[in-house]
C-alpha cells in the first residue's frame, strides 16, 4: 500500500507516492533521481549515503522514506549555492580529499555536521567524528586536511554555523 509523502529536498517540495518499505536513500536516488547520494554497504557502516535531515547528518539507508515525511533534506546536490561551492566542497578539492569520489558526498555531508559541532576541530575530533564514514582510497589524510582547511575558511568568512542550522 503506497503512501504519499511530502519532503523538502534541496529547497524544493517533493510530493511522491512511495512503498512504506522504501528507504530514504532509494527515494532520493530512484524516485527523485538525485544519484549523488551513494549506497556503499547494507549494514549502515560506510556512510556513503549520509544526507542532512532537519539539520542533522543521517545515514539515509537507515531511514524509511515515510519517516522523512515533512522533513527538510539537503543532499550533496544542494550544498553548492548560486554556483559557488560550499567551503567544504572547495576544501576537498584543494586538499585532495577524494580519489574515486564514491564516498565523497557522504563524507562531505558528515563533515558539514562535524564542523557544526566543532567549528575548530582537533585532528582527534575529526578522526573520531568520521568513524561512521569509510573511505578506501585516501587513507583519510587528505580528508582530514580538507576538513581542517574548511573549518579555517568558514571561520574567516564568519560562516561557522551553529548546531542545527
Amino acid at each position: 500500500m503506497k503512501r504519499t509523502i511530502s519532503v523538502t529536498v534541496n529547497g524544493k517540495v517533493r510530493r511522491e507516492s512511495v512503498e512504506p518499505r522504501l528507504l530514504l536513500v532509494h527515494f532520493l536516488r530512484d524516485v527523485l533521481r538525485l544519484t549523488g547520494t551513494h549506497v556503499g554497504c547494507d549494514t549502515s557502516q560506510c556512510g556513503a549515503c549520509t544526507v542532512s535531515m532537519n539539520g542533522l547528518a543521517v545515514k539515509s539507508c537507515t531511514i524509511l522514506a515515510v519517516q522523512a515525511d515533512g522533513a527538510e533534506i539537503t543532499t550533496i546536490e544542494g550544498l553548492a549555492r548560486d554556483g559557488a561551492l560550499h567551503p567544504i566542497q572547495a576544501a576537498f578539492r584543494e586538499h585532495h580529499g577524494l580519489q574515486c569520489g564514491f564516498c565523497t558526498p557522504g563524507m562531505i555531508m558528515a563533515a558539514k555536521q562535524l564542523l557544526e559541532r566543532y567549528p575548530a576541530p582537533t585532528i582527534e575530533q575529526i578522526r573520531d567524528q568520521l568513524d561512521g564514514n569509510i573511505c578506501r582510497c585516501t587513507g583519510y589524510h587528505g580528508i582530514i586536511k580538507a576538513i581542517e582547511a574548511a573549518a579555517r575558511a568558514m571561520a574567516e568568512k564568519g560562516q561557522a554555523p551553529t548546531t542545527g542550522s
Binding site: D42, Q99, P105, C135
Partner: protein
C-alpha cells in the same frame, strides 16, 4: 614547465563532478525499460545440485525470467577463463577447471551463483529468488590452503586440488649456498586473506538491441576492452564489433574490478533473453561472497647469511589459495608477480622459490592492490628484519650491506632492475623518522607503561606492467602495451583517448598535464576520454601501476607524431622548410627569424587545408600510438613505522609513519602522495585489522562490514611522505608508478614494528589486540628454537 605541466600539483579536473554529486557511476545510470537482476547464491561451500525448481519463482508477479546453468548451456554460453598459463615443475599445464557463469551440476563456494531472477523491480527479483528451490547434496569442503591437498577433491581435472606446482630459480645452487651459510633465519608466514572492498560495489547493466543485433554493457571495470575481448572470444556472447563495454565513473578498483565475473556476463545474456535492459548492483554483503579476494598465502621461508651479514641465499615455499575457480589473472599473481620480486632491494646470489597453487571451497582469489608483490615484500622484509635481530646488527645497517648498488642489476629471479638508489631513500627516511632518537622515545614510552617498536620495509615492486614479449614468454595470454589517440580539434583543443582507465587515480588531470606540458596549451583545453570501447579503439586498462609508465607513454608517443605532423602544417603556413620549424612553448617558430604561428593557427590550418594540397599532406591532425614498454619499472623506497603497544590490552597504536619512495619522475605530486596515503592505509589494514575468515566448513565468517574490519579514520596515523628520484630509463617519461607502493611496503613495516615492540616474532596478521596480547603473554614461555 607550465603551471599545469609535469611536476605541478594541479588540482583535479574530475573533482568538480564528484564533490557536487554529479558523477555517473554504473548504478546511477538507468536505461529505459530496465529490469533488475538478483542472483540466488549457494549457501553451501561444496555441494552437488540434485535439482532446481524455479516454477514458484517464475510465477510471481513482475518476474520476467528465472535462469539457471541449464539455460546457459542451452544457449551455448562459454565458461569464464584464466588468461595466464602456468606450467608445473614437471612441465604439465595448470589444471583449469570449467567455470560456468551459473553453476552446472555443483557449487564450489558459498556465494557461487546458482540462478538469476530478472523482474520488473528489484524487490520482486529478490522475493522471487527466495522461492527458487534447490535440492543440494552437501559435500565435505576445504577452505584452508594448507589443508587443500588432503581435502575433498573439488574439480575432476585437479587431483589433490592442485592447480600447479611451480618453481623459479636454481635449487641446487641455492641449497649449496645454504650449506655454507653462517646463519639461517627461518619464518613461517601466513599472508592473510583480504576482501578488496572498493567503496562502490560492482554493478552491471546489460542491454541488447535487436535492431542492430548488438549489446552494450555498462560495467564497473578497470579494463573495458579486456572485458569485451573475454566476453566475445571465450564466453561467446557476441562478437567484439557487436559488443560495446562502457566503464563510466568507477568507485575504486584495487584489482577487484579487473576480472570478468559471472554477474556481468549473465546480465548481458539475460538482456537478450528478456528483451529488456537488465541491471544488477551488488550488495556489500554479497560483494564479500562474490568479489575476488586477495593474498591468502601460507609460506615457509629461509634466508642464509654469511659471517659479514651478507645474504647468500633465499629459499621460499608457498601454498597459494586460488579459491574455487581460477579467476581471470589469478595464476600469475603468486608466480610471476610474486617470486620474481623475492630479491627485494638486495644483491642475493641464489634464490629458489616453489609455489603450489590450490583450489579450495572459497571465492576465487586474484590480484588485489600490489598483487603478489606485497606478499613477496612481506617475506623478504620480515626475513631481513628478523635476521638482523638474530645477528645483532642494526636492521638499517644489515639492509645497507646488502643493497644493490649498481644498475642494471640482474636478479636470479628473472627481473633486471633498471635504476634505483636504495641507500638514498633509506637515508632520507631515517632522517625524517628521527631514527637516532628512537631509543629516547622508547624509554619515554616505557615510563608510561607502553612498549614502543620501530619497523622498516625497504620494498621493491615491478610495475609498468609490462613488456608484451616478456610476459608472453612467461605464459600471459595477452600483450600488456597501451594505446592512445590524440585528436586535435580545428580550434586547437585536444581530446586524448586512452586505453587506461581511471577509477580514482586522477588520469583526467595527470594525462592532461602531459598534453599541456608538451603542447603548451591550457589544461582546460584538454579532455581525457576513457572507458568506452566504442570511443577508444583498444586498451589493456589500469592495474599494476601501469597507467603512468605505459598509458602515458603511449600518449607521449602519439604527441610526438602530432608534433611532427603539426610541424609539416606549420612549414606550409609559414612558408619555410620543415626542418627549420621549431616547436616551443606552444608556438611554431621559423629558426632564426621572428616568424611564428600559434598552436591554434596550425590546428586550424591542418583542418581547413588551404595552405597545402591534399597530395602533399593529408588534412587533419590526429595520431594514435601503441606503446609497448621495454622493461618493467621498479619503484622502490623505504617505509618506517613506529608503534606503541599497550601491554595490558595488546592494542597497537601507530605513532609515526615515514615513507620515502622513488617513483621516478613525478607528474603530479599531490596525486602521487594521495596514492601513497591510500596504499599505506590498505597495508595497515592488512597488518592490523583486515581478515577474510572462512571457517572449516567453508562459511565466510566475515561477510559484512559489521564483521570485516575496514580501516577508519581513527585507526590510521598521519603520514610523512617524501620522495627521492631516479629517472626510469625504460620509458620516455621517466616515470615508475606509484599506485601500489604503500600497500606493498606497509604490512612488513607494521609487523616489524609490532614484533620489535613486543619482542616476539610470531605475531600473525592482522595483529589484533587479541593476537598481540597473546604474544605478549607467550613471552613468559620458553621460546621455541627457530
Amino acid at each position: 614547465m607550465t603551471g599545469t605541466g609535469i611536476g605541478a600539483a594541479v588540482r583535479r579536473k574530475e573533482d568538480l563532478r564528484f564533490i557536487t554529486g554529479r558523477g555517473h557511476y554504473t548504478d546511477d545510470i538507468s536505461r529505459p525499460g530496465q529490469a533488475y537482476a538478483c542472483f540466488l547464491r549457494s549457501p553451501h561451500a561444496h555441494a552437488r545440485i540434485r535439482s532446481i525448481d524455479t516454477s514458484a519463482a517464475a510465477n510471481l508477479p513482475g518476474v520476467l525470467a528465472v535462469l539457471t546453468g541449464a539455460e546457459l548451456q542451452a544457449d551455448k554460453i562459454g565458461n569464464l577463463i584464466c588468461g595466464w598459463m602456468i606450467h608445473s615443475k614437471d612441465g604439465s599445464p595448470m589444471k583449469m577447471a570449467p567455470h560456468p557463469a551459473l553453476a552446472v551440476g555443483k557449487v564450489c563456494y558459498v556465494g557461487d551463483p546458482v540462478a538469476v531472477v530478472v523482474a520488473e523491480t528489484l524487490p520482486q527479483a529478490k522475493d522471487a529468488a527466495e522461492k527458487i528451490v534447490v535440492d543440494y547434496e552437501v559435500l565435505p569442503a576445504v577452505a584452508d590452503p594448507a589443508k587443500a591437498k588432503e581435502g575433498p577433491q573439488i574439480h575432476e581435472v585437479a587431483p589433490r586440488n592442485t592447480i600447479y606446482e611451480w618453481a623459479l630459480g636454481d635449487k641446487a645452487a641455492t641449497d649449496a649456498a645454504f650449506a655454507s651459510a653462517r646463519h639461517v633465519t627461518r619464518l613461517d608466514i601466513v599472508n592473510n586473506r583480504l576482501a578488496p572492498n572498493a567503496l562502490e560495489p560492482r554493478a552491471a547493466i546489460g542491454e541488447y538491441d535487436a535492431g542492430s543485433d548488438s549489446f552494450t554493457l555498462w560495467n564497473t571495470t578497470q579494463n573495458p576492452h579486456v572485458a569485451r575481448l573475454v566476453i566475445s572470444a571465450f564466453v561467446g556472447l557476441a562478437p567484439e564489433h557487436k559488443l560495446r563495454v562502457i566503464a563510466p565513473d568507477v568507485g575504486g578498483g584495487f584489482g577487484s574490478k579487473i576480472f570478468i565475473y559471472p554477474e556481468e556476463v549473465v546480465a548481458l545474456w539475460a538482456s537478450k533473453r528478456v528483451g529488456r535492459p537488465v541491471k544488477w548492483t551488488c550488495d556489500r554483503s554479497e560483494a564479500f561472497l562474490a568479489d575476488a579476494h586477495g593474498r591468502d598465502h601460507v609460506t615457509h621461508a629461509e634466508m642464509a647469511f654469511d659471517d659479514k651479514g651478507k645474504i647468500v641465499g633465499l629459499r621460499v615455499h608457498t601454498i597459494a589459495n586460488l579459491g574455487a575457480y581460477m579467476s581471470t589473472f589469478s595464476s600469475s599473481i603468486p608466480t610471476y608477480l610474486y617470486a620474481t620480486l623475492l630479491s627485494g632491494q638486495y644483491a642475493i646470489p641464489h634464490i629458489y622459490c616453489e609455489v603450489d597453487a590450490v583450489y579450495t571451497n572459497t571465492v576465487p582469489v586474484d590480484a588485489y592492490r600490489g598483487a603478489g608483490r606485497p606478499e613477496a615484500t612481506f617475506v623478504v622484509e620480515r626475513l631481513v628484519e628478523v635476521g638482523a635481530r638474530e645477528l645483532g646488527i642494526d636492521p638499517p645497517e644489515l639492509r645497507r650491506r646488502n643493497f644493490i648498488k649498481s644498475f642494471p642489476h640482474q636478479t636470479p629471479v628473472i627481473m633486471t632492475y633498471d635504476a634505483g638508489d636504495y641507500e638514498a631513500s633509506l637515508r632520507k627516511a631515517l632522517e625524517i623518522a628521527d631514527y637516532k632518537n628512537f631509543p629516547k622515545r622508547k624509554r619515554e614510552s616505557a615510563r608510561r607503561g607502553k612498549l614502543r617498536g620501530i619497523g622498516f620495509s625497504t620494498y621493491i615492486e615491478a610495475c609498468g606492467i609490462a613488456p608484451s614479449q616478456a610476459v608472453g614468454s612467461l605464459g600471459a595470454g595477452v600483450g600488456l602495451w597501451e594505446s592512445a589517440e590524440v585528436r586535435v580539434n580545428p580550434t586547437g583543443s585536444v581530446e586524448v583517448l586512452t586505453g587506461s582507465h581511471s577509477h580514482g587515480q586522477g588520469h583526467e588531470t595527470t594525462f592532461a598535464q602531459l598534453v599541456s606540458d608538451r603542447l603548451g596549451i591550457p589544461i582546460e583545453n584538454v579532455s581525457v576520454i576513457h572507458g568506452d570501447t566504442d570511443k577508444v579503439q583498444f586498451g589493456m586498462g589500469t592495474y599494476g601501476s601501469r597507467s603512468g609508465a605505459v598509458g602515458m607513454s603511449a600518449i607521449a608517443k602519439a604527441l610526438d607524431k602530432v608534433e611532427a605532423k603539426a610541424k609539416k602544417v606549420a612549414s606550409h603556413l609559414l612558408e619555410a622548410a620543415e626542418g627549420d620549424i621549431e616547436f616551443k612553448d606552444g608556438k611554431f617558430i621559423v629558426s632564426g627569424t621572428d616568424k611564428s604561428a600559434t598552436w591554434a593557427d596550425v590546428a586550424l590550418h591542418a583542418y581547413i587545408a588551404h595552405k597545402f594540397s591534399g597530395q602533399e599532406l593529408e588534412p587533419g591532425l590526429k595520431e594514435g600510438a601503441f606503446y609497448d614498454p621495454t622493461n618493467f619499472t621498479f619503484p622502490a623506497g623505504c617505509h618506517i613505522c613506529e608503534v606503541e603497544v599497550d601491554p595490558d590490552t595488546g592494542e597497537v597504536t601507530i605513532v609515526g609513519w615515514t615513507a620515502v619512495d622513488d617513483f621516478g619522475v613525478v607528474i603530479n605530486p599531490m596525486i602521487v602522495e594521495g596514492q601513497v596515503h591510500g596504499g599505506i592505509a590498505q597495508g595497515v589494514g592488512q597488518a592490523l585489522l583486515e581478515h577474510a575468515v572462512y571457517n572449516s566448513d567453508g562459511q565466510l565468517v566475515t561477510g559484512s562490514l559489521m564483521d570485516y574490519a575496514m580501516p577508519r579514520a581513527g585507526n590510521l596515523p598521519s603520514y610523512k611522505v617524501d620522495m627521492t628520484v631516479t629517472r626510469c630509463p625504460s620509458n620516455p617519461l621517466g616515470v615508475k608508478g606509484c599506485g601500489e607502493a604503500g600497500a606493498i611496503a606497509a604490512p612488513a613495516a607494521v609487523i616489524n614494528a609490532v614484533t620489535d615492540a613486543v619482542g616476539v616474532e610470531d605475531i600473525p596478521m592482522p595483529a589484533t589486540p587479541q593476537a598481540v596480547w597473546s604474544a605478549i603473554r607467550s613471552r613468559a614461555q620458553p621460546r621455541q628454537a627457530a
